[in-house]
């Protein structure tokens, strides 16, 4: 087992908001290539935990290690460039820009890093359309993002994450508000993404979790309650009490 080096580790990671320990000394390890789901009741600290990983929130204690490097003090935008992409829980696309421009913003950042000396508009178009097509939004490229349906905006959000070509893609409740048929497509999409990248998924919909996750972490009150394969979690007594409702 020692052969697989984890892509992401946290050591004693914690964050307090006043007296509240939102995340409380979490030790967590994520091997490269895994699709991992984090579940737990509302207020368990899931979003805060991934926010600590992607740098949107600064930790009060503990460390985050990505690809062998301590990134605890790295600002969020540098973590993104290091390969951690985050898609927002609340849809956060640029509503006044076209779908293509939304993705292009992600691509152009990426291309600037790759070449340093500017970027060709051909590469920008190619990469951008590629990301849109992956999520099935190719035909909507010229539509203004704010006019897209909610489900399509969620997909656009994912396309922006994909366009960053991340090593670790964090999806924060991606299926919230989607219809059943949209969720089905979404599962297929994440499966496809999972072949190339490591995926960390916060999700409430247990069907989605069971369909996608290779391993599951259950959080409660800022701590890890249980961790394991989907079947183990389903059988876990403590989890059933805390989360699945006994």
């Amino acid at each position: 087992m020692a052969a697989v080096k984890p892509l992401l580790e946290t050591h004693e990671l914690g964050r307090s908001f006043g007296g509240l320990r939102a995340v409380d000394g979490v030790d967590f390890s994520l091997p490269e290539g895994e699709t991992h789901a984090i579940i737990g009741p509302n207020g368990a600290g899931k979003t805060t935990f991934v926010s600590l990983i992607c740098g949107r929130v600064a930790p009060t204690d503990g460390r985050v290690v990505f690809d062998g490097k301590d990134i605890s003090l790295m600002p969020a935008h540098k973590r993104v460039r290091a390969g951690i992409a985050y898609t927002f829980q609340i849809t956060s696309v640029f509503a006044n820009l076209t779908a293509f421009d939304n993705v292009a913003l992600a691509v152009q950042r990426q291309l600037i890093d790759d070449h340093e000396r500017g970027l060709s508009s051909r590469a920008l178009t190619e990469h951008g359309m590629d990301a849109l097509q992956k999520v099935g939004l190719g035909e909507y490229a010229d539509k203004v993002a704010g006019n897209l349906s909610y489900g399509h905006q969620r997909l656009l959000e994912v396309a922006m994450g994909l366009a960053l070509r991340p090593r670790l893609l964090i999806l924060d409740e991606p299926t919230q508000g989607l219809s059943d048929s949209e969720i089905e497509n979404f599962i297929a999409l994440v499966r496809q993404i999972g072949e190339e990248a490591t995926v960390l998924l916060i999700e409430h919909n247990m069907d989605v979790v069971m369909a996608l996750a290779e391993r599951i972490t259950v959080m409660e009150q800022g701590r890890i309650l249980a961790q394991g394969a989907p079947a183990e979690i389903r059988a876990n007594q403590a989890v059933q009490q805390a989360y699945l409702g006994g």
Partner: protein
């Protein structure tokens, strides 16, 4: 029939506007040519302001200090050090960039209302400094640059900047250069990043952009254009005074940009021109001209809520940059 792409159309439009302004030099009566020369220089100020406010979403109430930095950078070096116009103009630009860099670095730690207040305070400090060093600046009374100093040297001759036609053409040249620069900027990936920062800063950060550095660059470029306007004003109109550093010169570019259309390339010109002529016309009929101006502004806001060009773009010409 080949259809023009939005890109070709917008470049053709901008070239057309500059050509039209060039023709006006030969068509306008003397008085109006003078007004237009002034408007062209101040439109550069408005364009610089628009880069920060319209495109990047930074509502500054202190841009008078960038204009005045250019004005004094050029004016003081000509008046006291007897520099010729080219290096003095360069000194004006440098002063603007330095002030923008320092003020931007400090003020951009804040956002929203706090940013407005901080920029306002810095501009007041700048204004009070122009009064404090009255030995050199002569404060409100200001300095009049001697006419023989206001000549632009070229290999093979000089241009007298106090000549109305030369003044108009130099003002137009500066305007055209800055217009082209802004058009290029907002169509380039960097321009798209600025607009995106305005729309959703947090999202940009999570796309890997260093938002602070991008905003600082926008403030510095904005300061550079405003300083260019100030420096040009000093050498073209030959007067440098504290009034240009006062609060109303921070409000005016905001007004011009709002009237013309924020985040449009031609809005600042239209807004500046419109406001100049509204005030000019109204004050020739009545001493209560500010009341007329107020009524006209209410009308503009009712019928052109996004500014003149902004509303034209929204309703009829979506390809306008």
């Amino acid at each position: 029939m080949t259809r023009l792409t939005p890109s070709t159309k917008s470049i053709a439009l901008h070239v057309g506007v500059v050509v039209l302004l060039l023709a006006l030099n030969f068509l306008l009566p003397e008085y109006h040519r003078g007004v237009f020369a002034r408007v062209l220089v101040l439109a550069v100020f408005a364009m610089g302001y628009n880069l920060a406010f319209g495109y990047t979403g930074l509502l500054s109430l202190g841009h008078a200090m960038f204009f005045a930095a250019g004005l004094y950078g050029a004016g003081l070096t000509i008046y006291h050090l007897e520099w010729s116009v080219w290096p003095a103009f360069g000194a004006g630009l440098a002063a603007g960039v330095v002030v923008a860099l320092v003020v931007g670095f400090l003020a951009l730690r804040t956002t929203g209302v706090a940013f407005m207040i901080v920029t306002l305070m810095f501009a007041q400090v700048f204004y009070l400094m122009t009064l404090y060093f009255t030995t050199y600046t002569r404060g409100e009374e200001g300095l009049v640059l001697p006419q023989e100093m206001r000549v632009l040297g070229f290999p093979g001759g000089v241009l007298d900047l106090s000549d109305p036609s030369t003044r108009y053409l130099v003002a137009l040249s500066l305007f055209a250069i800055v217009l082209a620069a802004i058009l290029f900027l907002v169509r380039a990936p960097y321009g798209r990043s600025l607009i995106a920062i305005r729309e959703n800063e947090e999202r940009m950060r999570m796309l890997g952009y260093d938002v602070f550095v991008n905003k600082l660059m926008a403030v510095v470029l904005s300061g550079l254009f405003c300083a260019a306007s100030g420096a040009a004003y000093a050498v073209l109109f030959g007067y440098v005074g504290s009034g240009f550093a006062a609060i109303q010169y921070s409000i005016l570019p905001l007004l011009w940009v709002l009237v013309g259309g924020a985040a449009t390339t031609l809005g600042p010109l239209i807004g500046t021109l419109f406001m100049f002529y509204v005030i000019d016309t109204a004050s020739s009929y009545t001493t209560a001209h500010l009341m007329v101006v107020g009524l006209v502004l209410i009308g503009v806001i009712l019928f052109f809520p996004k500014g003149i060009i902004g509303t034209v773009r929204e309703r009829w010409l979506p390809w306008l940059p």
